[in-house]
Structure formats: C-alpha cells, structure tokens
Symmetry: C2
Subunit: 199 residues, 2 copies
DNA sequence: GGTCATCTAACGAACATTCGTTAGGCAAAG
DNA sequence: CTTTGCCTAACGAATGTTCGTTAGATGACC
C-alpha cells in the first residue's frame, strides 16, 4: 500500500463518516485529495474497494482483540473487563472507521457482505464464550447468553455515536463505567448490615 | 392524509429500511406502488417529505410515551421498567420506521435535522429524569446520569437491529430482560449466608 | 554514463446511467 | 365542472467509471 493510497483512504474514511458512504461521491473524495476524479482510479479499482478496506480492517482489529482476551485471561469477570476495554479502545482509536464500520457495511456487495457478517458473528461468539464461562464458573447470573451478548455489544457500540476525543471521559474511563454497568447494573443493593447499622 | 398517501408512505418505509434512504430512488418507490415516478408528486412534495414524515412520526410516539410514564408512575424502578417497555413496544410495533428513524435522520435538511435532534434530546432528558429520581430516592447507585442514559438507550435501540416478529422472544419478554439487565447486571451476588452455609 | 523499460500519479474528456423533479394533458369521479 | 390521480415526456444535474495520454522518477543493462 502506497503512502498516497493511505492518504486517500484516510480522506475517504472521514468523508464516509461525515456524509455516509452512498452520499459521498468519488468527486467529493477527489476534491478532498485535490485531484481529478479519474486520478483516484490509479489507486483503487472503484468506490467499493474503499468501503471494503475500511470495514474489513476494523473487523480484523476486533477479531484480533477478542482472540487475545480469550487466549490469556482466565476469570470471566477479568475477561469481560478486558474485552470491553479493547472494544472501546478500538472504537475510540479509529472513530471514523468505526462509524463507517457500523453504518455502511450493508453497502458492500452481497458476497463481501456475507463475509463481513460471518466475521461479526465470530466476534459475537467470542463474547458469548465469555458469558457462558462466567455462568459455568458461577460468577454470572444464569442469563440468556445470546440476548445478553447482543445487549452488551449494543451498549458498547453506541459509544461511537457520542464519543469525542476532547470529551469528559477518557476511553479507559468509558470502558470502566461500561464494565461496571454491565456487571452490577443500576439498582443499589443495600449492604446486609444496613438495617442494623442505621437502626 | 389520503389512504393512497398512507400506502405510499408504507412502501417508502419498507424500502428505506431495506436499502437505506439515499440508496432508495423515487423510481424504486414508484415501482413498488405500481405507478410512474412522476405520479408520486401528486401526493408528496418530494423525496424528503417521506423521510421527514417517517422520522417525526416516530419521534412523536417516543415523546408521548415518555411523558405518559413520567406523569403517572412514582417509583423510579417502576418508571424505568415502564419506559423500557414502551420503548421496546414502539420499536417492535414499527420496525421499519424504527430502523429508518435511527439510521437515516441525518439526511434531513439542516433545519429539520436540528428539530429532530431537539426532540431526541427531550426524550433523553425524560430518561435522565428517571435516573436522577432513582438516585435521589436511594434506590439507584450514584451513577453518572448522562452516561447511564446513553448506555441504557443504546441497549434498547439496538433491539431494532435484530428483532424479528417471529423470533424467540416477544416484545414484552425483551423489555423484561432488558429491565433486569439494566437494573441488576450480570454479576451474581452471593447471598450473605453463602460462606456459612457451604462451609 | 547514457538509454531503455517500468512504475507512479496524475490529467482532461467523455461515457452511459441514474437521480429528483417539473410540465402539461387526460380520464374518471364527486 | 372541478378535483383527483395518473400518465407521457422531458429536464438538468450528478453519478461511477473508462479511456488514452503524459510527466517524472527509479533502476537495470550495455
């Protein structure tokens, strides 16, 4: 991959994020690159190659991250915390790509879309593994594994919609808060001694 | 609103959901309505009026629902449960519109987009109110209100991505599971007597 | 050290197609 | 007799892409 190709890809990422894939024209990208539209075809076969590269780069990052976690950490709580941290780390390190990854993958052609979904399923299976592990260990409630995985991933993924680099919370703080939320929930459990102490 | 207009709107909802707003052409909609493209302009000013109607209809439904909840229910746990149930109820009753509502609102023109965001903020404020109430009552942990609201809403909204009418879980079951998840979390709290009993 | 082939990156022009939209007419229904 | 719903025809603009070509750089071979 040429340096120039990387530059163009980066511009595409930014434009796709801002306006969406279908609403971004080759001419938009060319203008951003200060080049004639036709010149882009010296670097890419076509518009979809850009989307493809962005989506699958991200998919690879996520898959690598979950494999790492599931290879190393034993305890389910620990594994979940690490998975959350990695997930948020990727989202916040590549905010443009993450947005495109989540919104525009469906504009891939049918074949590549199927590939993409397969990779996404693989990732989800990694999360399900963690939850199953936690239940088997006895450290998690006996929840619906499939449902919980979807719910967890949704709360993680939405971060990309509101995260700003100059925001109030750092990526690690976001990950910590999410982990707490997922593990403990909202409801306050009064300490066992509560009644006695305050009486 | 004419009956025919409603029909066309329904077709648009379905197509927008399937292919996205920008990738759906007036000609696609006309074909679905078995009518020439130009004929649609007897019913609508233009393509954006369709998107506009879909998005703001949904916004109205959500706002009405949260107002109901916050007018009637006292207890924060009860209010949150009802808000979740209503939210999931809307998403699952209008799955096409819900998908468009979540994905394509950003293709509204700048003015309407601002209006839309204002309504969304209003809804979020309703959820924040519930959480603040729960903290004040002492029934919720002292969480970051803004962050928690976003996280809760994200886990609710993602349902639209995977919900199928013929799926395993009914809307009410989904809502119950989500409420449990939000309130209690994953981690099993061992009963206070656990150590003693098993020793 | 000169020349020859190859590669990168870009150009301007044109391509066929699709886009949202408008104008004007026509037939049926109230 | 006016309104409604649809028609045919066409508009100008934008779409992704292909074409043949060129300037400049790089490195190998004689």
């Amino acid at each position: 991959m040429t340096e120039r190709k990387k530059e163009i890809l980066e511009l595409a990422r930014s434009l796709f994020r801002e306006k969406g894939y279908t609403s971004t024209s080759i001419r938009d990208i060319a203008a951003a690159a200060q080049v004639e539209p036709a010149s882009l075809y010296s670097h890419f076969k076509g518009k979809e190659e850009l989307l493809d590269a962005i989506c699958f780069d991200m998919a690879d990052r996520f898959l690598l991250a979950i494999k790492e976690v599931n290879d190393i950490y034993f305890d389910a709580v620990q594994r979940l915390a690490m998975a959350v941290k990695n997930h948020i780390g990727i989202l916040t390190s590549y905010p443009d790509a993450a947005m495109v990854f989540q919104h525009d993958w469906r504009f891939l052609n049918d074949e590549r879309k199927a590939d993409f979904i397969a990779l996404r399923d693989q990732y989800e299976e990694g999360i399900r593994d963690i939850i199953r592990g936690g239940i088997d260990e006895g450290s998690f409630n006996e929840v619906d594994v499939k449902f919980s995985t979807l719910t967890i991933l949704s709360s993680l993924n939405w971060v990309v919609e509101w995260y700003r680099e100059d925001g109030r919370l750092s990526p690690d703080e976001i990950a910590e808060n999410l982990t707490k939320f997922i593990l403990i929930g909202l409801k306050k459990e009064l300490p066992p001694s509560y009644d006695i102490v305050t009486d």
